[in-house]
Symmetry: C2
Subunit: 353 residues, 2 copies
Amino acid sequence: MTDTYSLAIDAMGGDAAPASVVAGLDLAAERHPGSRVLLFGDQVALAPLLARFKRAAAICTVRHTAEAISSDLKPTQALRLRGASMRLAIDAVASGEAGGVVSAGNTGALLALAKIVIKTLPGIDRPAMAAISPSARGDVVMLDLGANVQCTTRNLIEFALMGDVFARTVLGLPAPTIGLLNVGSEELKGSDQLRLAAEGLRASHLGPQFYGFVEGHDIAAGTTDVIVTDGFTGNVALKTGEGALKLMGTMLRQVFSASIATRIAYLLARPGLDRLREWLDPQRYNGAVMLGLAGVVVKSHGGADARGFASAVDVAMDMVVHRFNEGIRDGLARMQHVPPIAGQVSAPLARGI
Amino acid sequence: MTDTYSLAIDAMGGDAAPASVVAGLDLAAERHPGSRVLLFGDQVALAPLLARFKRAAAICTVRHTAEAISSDLKPTQALRLRGASMRLAIDAVASGEAGGVVSAGNTGALLALAKIVIKTLPGIDRPAMAAISPSARGDVVMLDLGANVQCTTRNLIEFALMGDVFARTVLGLPAPTIGLLNVGSEELKGSDQLRLAAEGLRASHLGPQFYGFVEGHDIAAGTTDVIVTDGFTGNVALKTGEGALKLMGTMLRQVFSASIATRIAYLLARPGLDRLREWLDPQRYNGAVMLGLAGVVVKSHGGADARGFASAVDVAMDMVVHRFNEGIRDGLARMQHVPPIAGQVSAPLARGI
């Protein structure tokens, strides 16, 4: 890749933008001092921030625009704002000026614009949304998280391929294990699509890494490094897991604030409890990634703080530096003999989940 | 209902059967002293247990059989064991001798036998599996949990109806709120089935209780009392939530066992932590219920202890005493004008999620 800039960043997206974006970029710059970043946004708002955050200023070039896409704008309306900071950042990736884009702005607009402007990578049927989540055995990559409510066998196999390359480039795993999310680990469980996807993966170059079917509890257990599922199930599973952890956090706060004795208990256990909270902190796992486009696209949570935004920049930077899309191209070439990828998707396979 | 016995119980199913079954029945008998229960199993094994657990002995009549269905038997093989304790208990429900059956034995066999022998309630297209789980705002009923991997609009509406009656009869809620699990709360999100099910529910007698779409995090938040979803998503969500709580429990144990200070912290906070653990304890929520059959069918977890088995008996007893199936019949009658229930299921709707 010979992009002039590693990343194009939308400075105006997010609840606390552009302050959180520049502060996050400053943190990320410490880890990637040699990189070059294009920063799209309002010069007047950015100038004082860059004067304060010197590491961010050292790696970025500002491209001024006063236009921005608000968080409640519909994707169809966002498409018309050709001068908006998010749009210009995406254009920079489409033109090859930058390797990837990071935005904490309007999710629907980012996904729609990225698909239309940057386009799908040749050979990939549908892009997928992936994220990293904590497990008992280390970080786990899960996809799709909502880009595709219904998936074909071919989609699931492509998600496995993209998850494999993502786990290699971002988590640094040499041979990530891959699981297909199902309602039971027996071979006969689940839909036809799942059974055919399992067959296809076993027959592919990913065969040695393919664990087979996994169940909901395997996500937090970390049974495999990559969890592949359709966008509906993945979205529900991700939010259900987060909800359960949040419930437990609320309940623990109640336990520790009950009496003087429990307040003392909290103080005694605090270092460990703080580490646990930090480990489970959604900010650390910030950055939902759109895989399968002809450029790296990372969506930071709108409410992310500087540390959260820096995590999203980290993920994008890792993908650009370790040439994520070249890994996908190589993988696709090795997939050409796998029926659902090589052949046309047959009608019953295209049916849904 | 004029069944001679409230429940028929399979004494021989479960990892620690029949001891765990009789001990559990003893606990349940304390709460339902006037009930009458048929206990199917090996008289030789049961006699000393009943001599010890007097409250259980007081409410039950033993029907001897030496035959039992092992946990690894396939449903097709289980069907042939006509003298097995589980089969005889199911037969007692089918003949009207008992109102419901509880078993901690082979899940696949129980579901298959119950469907074939007890049969589906007239007017219900497909039975569903439901369970109760903890939330920040009280207990929540979720269904389907795996009986139907693919669901039609009609199925989802029937699940909502069954969830409503279950929440009334078992949780004692006068007008439970109902949510349809989706990937976003906006009306345009999700599959056609989901949108049509939402329309159907709004038009039905459940309209005032129907909250609309809910997301994964709403399960632990307790946004609604009933969560309706297809069996694939429900199974994954239930296991994902349990997995996340288990991960948190493991991590907390590590935090508290780290040093002398944290061990003291544990002792100080122990009453609250124990209450929290008890509240989240799967044993308390033991009892997956098969709804939509012409009799009450409750599956206890195979590894349930006496307390867990007693919970399953409690749920079954509540359903029989509060005439769960009469509630379903009433609800179905009121549903007759709702298109997906009244009319025939059209081809695109029958496609599955």
